[in-house]
């Protein structure tokens, strides 16, 4: 078992594996999204407090969850890469970031469009939105660092260090923002998330899985380009390029 997994740590093997898996994850994401949205719009009932506007949660919450989850995965691969010096780990981290940043931005955007009808303002400085904003900044920072460093190896490790420092800080940041928010009595209105209808929850979870598979598909697709770029002097890469 260990042996076969290590095989896939070689960029050449992973290149082909990722290529085969990407369509599966892509289609799975699509099917789950259709299912989730069907539940969200045609099965889930109208919310007692928020009317139909709450249906934004079926993309807002998955986007928010994914932006946080992907950041953790980036931190994980960064740690693996730094510990074992595996090139592929760093490449995966780089491949995940743009999708994570997109989800972070979307969670902000959809959060604003949910907030306006619900709380009367496009933006409120509540703990969750503010933390999401800072998470978005963290994504921007690490991507800016990667793009500023020409040497791929230096970029890999520098980005990895930054991702780890960020990951350590994220719980602290979240705690401090919650603290800040309760003290300043900001928007105390929370969406009716206290007791969620089971159907709504099911819809949200299915959409979350859809987002997850989408992220895997995009990351696999992106990492193949990165692998080719880095490995272009090897025989197997030249073969592919020559086709």
């Amino acid at each position: 078992m260990r042996f076969s997994l290590y095989r896939y740590a070689a960029p050449s093997t992973f290149y082909h594996l990722a290529g085969r898996l990407t369509p599966w994850f892509g289609w799975a994401a699509g099917i789950l999204a259709v299912l989730g949205l069907y539940i969200g719009f045609f099965v889930a009932p109208t919310d007692f407090q928020q009317g139909e506007a709450y249906r934004i949660i079926f993309i807002h919450v998955p986007a928010a969850w994914m932006s946080m989850f992907i950041y953790l995965v980036i931190a994980f691969w960064s740690a693996i890469g730094l510990a074992f010096n595996t090139r592929l780990s760093f490449m995966l981290a780089r491949a995940l970031a743009p999708t994570g940043a997109m989800f972070a931005f979307m969670s902000l955007w959809t959060g604003a469009f949910w907030g306006k009808p619900m709380w009367g303002a496009w933006w409120v400085w509540d703990a969750r939105l503010t933390s999401s904003l800072i998470l978005f900044f963290l994504y921007v920072g690490i991507m800016a660092l990667w793009s500023a460093i020409d040497d791929p190896r230096r970029g890999d490790k520098a980005g990895a260090l930054l991702a780890l420092v960020g990951a350590i800080n994220v719980p602290i940041i979240y705690f401090s923002v919650k603290w800040w928010n309760t003290l300043h009595q900001g928007a105390s209105v929370k969406p009716s998330g206290t007791s969620m209808d089971e159907v709504m929850l099911a819809g949200m979870l299915i959409m979350a899985f859809a987002a997850w598979f989408y992220a895997i598909a995009t990351a696999f697709y992106r990492v193949r380009d990165i692998i080719l770029e880095r490995e272009r002097h090897t025989e197997w890469a030249k073969e592919i390029l020559e086709k």
Binding site: F41, F42, V43, A44, P45, T46, G51, E52, A53, R55, I56, I59, H60, A63, P98, T99, M102, F105, M106, W109, T110, F113, W114, K116, P117, Y214, T218, Y221, R222, R224, D225, L228, E229, R232, K238, L241
Partner: protein, 63 residues
């Protein structure tokens, strides 16, 4: 959930603008990402092939 008509569906209880703007933005984000991915791949392949030819050609060594 029973929608009595399509217009009721689009209206979303008065919140149609907000709901559909959100979904449109999400869809746009995904579409843009996928387009960029495909274009990125083509660019990468083209660039790497060009680099390959350049490095192979005699008398021309990249700096």
């Amino acid at each position: 959930m029973e929608w009595s008509s399509w217009s009721q569906f689009w209206d979303m209880g008065g919140y149609g603008f907000y709901v559909w703007s959100s979904y449109a933005a999400m869809l746009l984000g995904i579409v843009i990402e996928v387009v960029l991915l495909r274009r990125g791949r083509q660019d990468t392949l083209r660039r790497l092939r060009r680099l390959e030819r350049w490095e192979q050609s005699p008398g021309e060594r990249p700096s």
